[in-house]
């Protein structure tokens, strides 16, 4: 049985008076792909932001490989091995592809950057072709690849991807999910937030369904994909 590397227990997150996350608990085991699915505004991104330290939970605990993240600063959480690829392809639009990747290695010693970048380029050949291009001029799919590549540069043990399929053409969505699977095969644990429930469940080991701040269901990818409630609510069947 694989070890649990991320354990979230009873977190409650507020935006001012709005109670966005209500008593959410879940865990991610080493080597898994775990997905959080749910509709707009269910709180998926909020959960990721809380794990990476951009938001704080008022209660509960978040443990990553034995250390508590509850009070850890975001930069130290990155150093500890969690990469957060935020929603909406937030690349540094005025920097080149290479410079974006260098930023991703911000917490890493200088010596390994060249090798790591080579690895990213071997995974995303498109980025190699465009290494000197200004990131803002890349296509949507390329920017998503760049955002993921940037996340990889910090040598994460756990990678959190926030809606990597958002706004991409179906063929690109397939590519991105293919890459996520490859990353996972190479040993990176993945926490994936998606609205595209069908795709997410098809590659996930386990999934959690988030509805208006509560986790309402959980199970293996197949279980959830075949559940009637899920099919009605998210898969349009």
């Amino acid at each position: 049985m694989a070890d649990t590397i991320l354990k979230v227990e009873g977190i409650n997150v507020y935006y001012g008076n709005i109670h966005a996350i209500k008593d959410v608990s879940f865990e991610v085991k080493e080597g898994e792909i775990v997905t959080l699915i749910g509709a707009n505004g269910a709180g998926k991104s909020t959960v990721l932001k809380t794990i990476s330290g951009m938001l704080r939970s008022k209660t509960g605990s978040i443990e990553f490989m034995g250390s508590s993240l509850m009070r850890m600063a975001p930069n130290n959480i990155v150093k500890n091995g969690i990469a957060h690829v935020p929603e909406g392809r937030r690349v540094f639009a005025h920097l080149t592809v290479e410079e974006n990747l260098e930023m991703g290695a911000y917490t890493q010693p200088r010596s390994g950057i060249r090798d790591d970048m080579e690895q990213v380029f071997s995974r995303f050949e498109r980025l190699r072709e465009r290494r000197r291009q200004i990131a803002g001029t890349l296509s949507g799919g390329e920017q998503q690849m760049l955002a993921m590549g940037r996340g990889l540069m910090s040598r994460p043990k756990l990678m959190m991807l926030d809606e990597p399929s958002m706004g991409l053409a179906p063929i690109l969505v397939d590519q991105i999910f293919e890459i996520i699977k490859e990353l996972n095969d190479n040993g990176t644990t993945i926490l994936l937030v998606e609205q595209n429930a069908q795709m997410a469940l098809s590659i996930a080991d386990r999934g959690y369904v988030l509805e208006t701040g509560y986790i309402t269901m959980s199970g293996t990818g197949e279980e959830l994909a075949s559940s009637d409630d899920i099919r009605k609510a998210y898969l349009g069947a």
Partner: protein, 334 residues
Amino acid sequence: MNEYKRISPSKRFLINIVLVIIFIVVGTLLTGGDSLSRASRALILQIGIYVILAVSLNIATGYLGQLPLGHAGFMAVGAYSAALFWKATLNMPTPVSIVLGLIIAGLIAAVFGIIIGIPALRLKGDYLAIITLGFGEIIRIAIINLSGITGGTPGLLNVPKYSSFLVVFLCVAATIAAIHFIMHSRHGRAILSIRENEIAADSCGVNLTYYKVLAFAMSAFFAGIAGALYAGFQGSLFPKSFDFMASINILVMVVLGGMGSMLGSVIAATVLTALPLVLQALAAYRMVIYSILLIIVMIFKPSGLLGRYDFSLPGLIEKWMNRKNKPGKEVANE
């Protein structure tokens, strides 16, 4: 085959040092003799001081992407610190006193930058602007009310006039060089990444608070040095020189030159400082000219005169050496 020729960093450094030395020697000779009128000599020093103010504000505005409106406050802190220090150490060897005074002015201003920066940088945009605006006013009022130390409204008089051409422009060169090196280091990249995209910077592991406060403190440090030079230039200090309009003047220079461009700040500071004196007859219309200039630039070139372009003589020489090569991908890398 056609490899892009490059100048090594040490040679680049040498070229720039030689440039600075030529500039300072020529300037000292020019301003030392009688070849220039007293007014133009004063103008040249003023330009130097405003160049430091503009490039220092450019750190917070252009590189960090915030909008502080209290830059004259930091300048005032530096001016009064240096003036009081210089007045107290008249029997110290002059060069020692000058250097110590400049450093103290910068450090005290930087401390104020940190004190105001920690709470202010939690806020964004217009809120930060209002807080820093308030800070600038508090400094000014405090100077008026602490009249026992600062001389209050009647002013602090008989400040030793230490700001020679050499002192002012050595400071200008040192400031520009320091900012250049910091902004091209890992720390500078972190500051730029915050401007580009705060959330992405956060997710890359950049310590946002630390770098925001650092940039703010640096900005204040150099403003403090400019303030000290101002004190040594005027020979007397009055609180009203550091009012809200003074902050706005500096901001206008940065915006006009192009936020994030050091050369832009330098040019705009030079032009806007010289303009009122050149157009003496039109002095009454100074603000009108300011406004019209700003409106025109903002309409036709919203990113400022130079945008984010920065000048590098070695870079130009490199381009010239490679003039036979077609501008390839390597050029785009620069």
